[in-house]
Subunit: 252 residues, 2 copies
């Protein structure tokens, strides 16, 4: 289970924090680290020092230009969020997230991404809206900003506890088992692009006056955890709509 | 509940770690920090920087010469331990510890100490044997040494989760409520001193060949969580024994 969990850090500024994250991950048995557009060097004296023996995770880490790339193969993406947003999203506590992991990780090609934002400003709304759910670590209301490595430590610890509970046969039998043929993040994003294009084409959606339309649709579909087959059907509907409305497909 | 929990750090070497601990504590709503014989300055640029706005905890922190002093008023002391020791002690997971906290913290004068050791070598056997129980954070067997602030973060997070569960009325009704008149750590230690003196006096115990005798007795009594009244009785028995065996009391 733990090998199917990826830690994704977006726009990290301090090499020491990346090192601290690597140490926290290795301590808890996680190994898959992805960095999206880091704003600092990854391999430095400071990151290696804070990794304290887990620097192989730094060397193995994959660097991506976009969140899209980093989570393209993931079947569940969960964004760490310090506060509730204008458009409320399905929100989990770290423990509720952990309770879902054993079933989420059952399929051989299941991949779970836990996505963490910048030290100073967290995740953007656009990034949070690419996640199926958000996870909020409960904190003191007067002092809610966790150190990045500390936030990863708490979630990685909950992952390990869930894995140990599973290993000892205490998995929650009431949890809903997701389909073993879930659409990947990349397939979902291709669908959302297609959907937006179609909605513009049919004059339902004005990107200059978005009114959170796409955000609301994302929330709906992501909550539904579509299977690949369902995606194909939905995309087929869009193509049929475009054809019927005489909308030209985009230039390749 | 959270105000009755004290974080005790023994022999810390790096100011940055003390700062990181202060931040983790304040994030989770803990405020009582005690430092035992720190091996570094407490208020430095590094500790204030890592505290990241929680430096009032550093200024409020009490510095003690001994663990004894730091936990003298505590009704429960739990030592963080990375490995099992030669003489196994009651061992809790962080979650099991958290499950006990609401009941442990019920009495007005209840105080719980969570004791953390040195960055390089943890707690000594003598220090661990002054604790009622040990708590072990589950880690990767190949890479078990957590950063000090990360270890405090995990336990402080579990404390906060327990407090939130209690606030929402989900406290475990099956937990054993401890007496509201528990002996303090200082009272227990006076008893153990008296006990050892008496055992030497009656030629039962040879401090040059201890054979873990006192450790085993400590484990027994600490597990029993004696009340103050029971302590008085036990000490009365020792006094009577000394008197009967014609053992002179120690010089003041």
């Amino acid at each position: 289970m733990l090998e199917r969990i990826r830690i994704v850090l977006i726009g990290t500024s301090h090499p020491g924090n990346i090192g601290g994250v690597a140490r926290a991950m290795h301590n808890m048995g996680l190994a898959d680290l992805a960095l999206v557009a880091p704003r600092c060097e990854v391999i430095t004296q400071d990151s290696i020092s804070r990794a304290s023996g887990a620097d192989h995770l730094l060397h193995q880490a994959k660097v991506h230009a976009t969140l899209e790339d980093a989570v393209a193969d993931c079947t569940l993406a969960v964004g760490a969020s310090a506060r509730s947003r204008t458009l409320p999203w399905p929100m989990l506590s770290p423990r509720e997230l952990a309770d879902r992991l054993p079933t989420e990780c059952q399929a051989a090609d299941a991949r779970v991404a836990l996505v963490f934002g910048r030290e100073d400003s967290g995740l953007t709304n656009a990034e949070l809206q690419r996640c199926h759910a958000h996870v909020h670590i409960p904190t003191n209301a007067d002092f809610s900003s966790l150190n990045l490595a500390a936030a990863v430590q708490v979630l990685a610890y909950e992952c390990r506890m869930a894995w140990l509970n599973q290993a000892y046969g205490q998995a929650d039998a009431t949890a809903t088992v997701p389909s073993d043929d879930l659409a990947t993040h990349a397939e979902l994003e291709r669908y959302f692009e297609h959907l937006e294009r179609t909605l513009i084409g049919i004059d339902f959606h004005d990107p200059d006056q978005p009114r959170q339309l796409m955000a609301r649709l994302r929330r709906l579909y992501l909550r539904a955890r579509p299977e690949r087959m369902e995606m194909n059907i939905l995309r087929g509907i869009l193509s049929a709509t475009e054809k019927a409305a005489n909308i030209k497909p985009p230039k390749p």
